[in-house]
Amino acid sequence: MDLTFASISEISDAVKAKKVSAKEVTKHFQGRIENLDGKLNSFTSKNENALQDAEAIDSRIAKGEDVGPMAGVPFGIKEMLCAKGMKATAGSKILENFVAPYDSTVVARLKKAGIVVMGKLNQDEFAMGSSNETSYFGAVKNPWNLECVPGGSSGGSAAAQAARLVVGTIGTDTGGSIRQPASFCGVVGVKPTYGRVSRYGIIAYASSLDQAGPMVSSVKDAALTMEVISGFDDRDSTTTQKAVPQWSKNLKADVKGLKIGLMKEYMKGSLHPDVQKTVENSIETLKKMGAEIVEVSVPMTEFAVPVYYLVAASEASSNLARYDGVKYGHRAEIKNLSAIELEDFYGLTRGEGFGKEVKRRIMLGTYCLSSGYYDAYYNKAGQVRRLIMNQYLEAFKSCDVILSAVTTAPAFKIGERISDPLTMYLNDIFTTSTNLAGLPGLSVPFGMSQDGLPIGIQLTAGHFEEQKMLDVAAALESASAVKGKHPHVI
């Protein structure tokens, strides 16, 4: 078996059948990380106990114990998620030395399913960014072209997965942070329905939008990972009590009779010609496979980016208030320790600890929530958010899944957009409305640009309708131009 390109199930089955040990698998991927990550900067820390963890799985298998559906599968975890005994920096100086005292529910469930945590993956600071250039630990490079960004904020997860430094990764998506880097790096990324996956132990950015999900190499691996991480958690009151479907077992690349919605608002924008061609090809492919293409309309998505940034920044300004230098994280050196102003203590600590983009969003959020502006910004954004969700619910009465581009263009060059925040924010035009409405969304690799960069297709479904979305993705995957191609860095 070629371990480098094996699926989650192939590795797990081989480990359980003792054809290969979890320790051998772990060593193989440790070697890949050692050899290749210097070019990518996708890892922020490595699990020093990975081999012992793998040995523990091997010894449980030797005793005949059930070790779960991901036995010995090496995983990388985004920095936002706590994994006991490992750093969880959120890509920020303010949490540079923070060691998580517990596992997030996502990590706990993955461990129960048998994975080996290989390390933590780089990200934009507190998931604020669309290019992975705002991390305190430096920018991540796109393995298809080292001069390009991998996308953000889960850029480390996308790059590590695309370069096959691990077999699976976990990212988080607040406004497209799984789907956009998945598209830029040619991997499958799924943002589940809000409430499917527990946020317990995930460092909060915008609580009503954040959702963790898989970033892996195939739709089947995504379905399997979703089954492991989803489900009710009594530590997160926003998780649903709905049963978790067996997406991977029910997966079928069959779209006959399905109605694929094309949002007319998304078709009128100016797309890069390579992205436009990829979208058109995907529509033709699905038509040939027996799907019906229908036009739908969600006019309020025109306002999704402003609503997203107003809601996300407001929630961020509240969530990030906890970083005060008292209980954990960075603390500024206060020269006169005998007596200081409390506001200086907080202000200096936070001023030193947060990066530019984070400060910018805290400032924006604080402004929106401040007296005199709350109704005009935060409250108004919440009202428009409801209109967006209602229009989506209406659209899903006439289609099963909505298809669109993930981004207007393929991966851009490092440094190209970082100095103009508004341009960077507008980059999220196709992904943010999904989070606002709490819908599931995914990106599946489908096209290649003239410059040799992968391009994803975005699929969005109604609440808790992940199966339809995964089925359409599997159909597209079977005809993908990215299939069989690998990044140059490999």
Binding site: Y194, F303, G329, I340, E352, L387, L422, L436
Partner: protein, 93 residues
Amino acid sequence: MIDKKTIEHIAKLARLHVTDEEAQEYSAQLAKALNHFEQISKINTAGVEPLITPTEIEAYWREDVVKQEFTAEEMTANAPAKAGNLFKVPPVV
């Protein structure tokens, strides 16, 4: 109007020290972003209840039972400064 004075006021509310250079930069950038975001003011939202959580999930309450999940040592392990099991902070006036 997001002038330097407004930025200083917001920074005070956010307990966030910003340098003069940053204040200048944020003033221009926030003004540009908010100017763009103003477009939502045109939308008629009369009588629309703001959406706070995007899926209708029934409120769930855990039983109010005390659990010993972490020791005091674990809870203070990441403290920038501590005295025994206590968080230590500089004296403030």
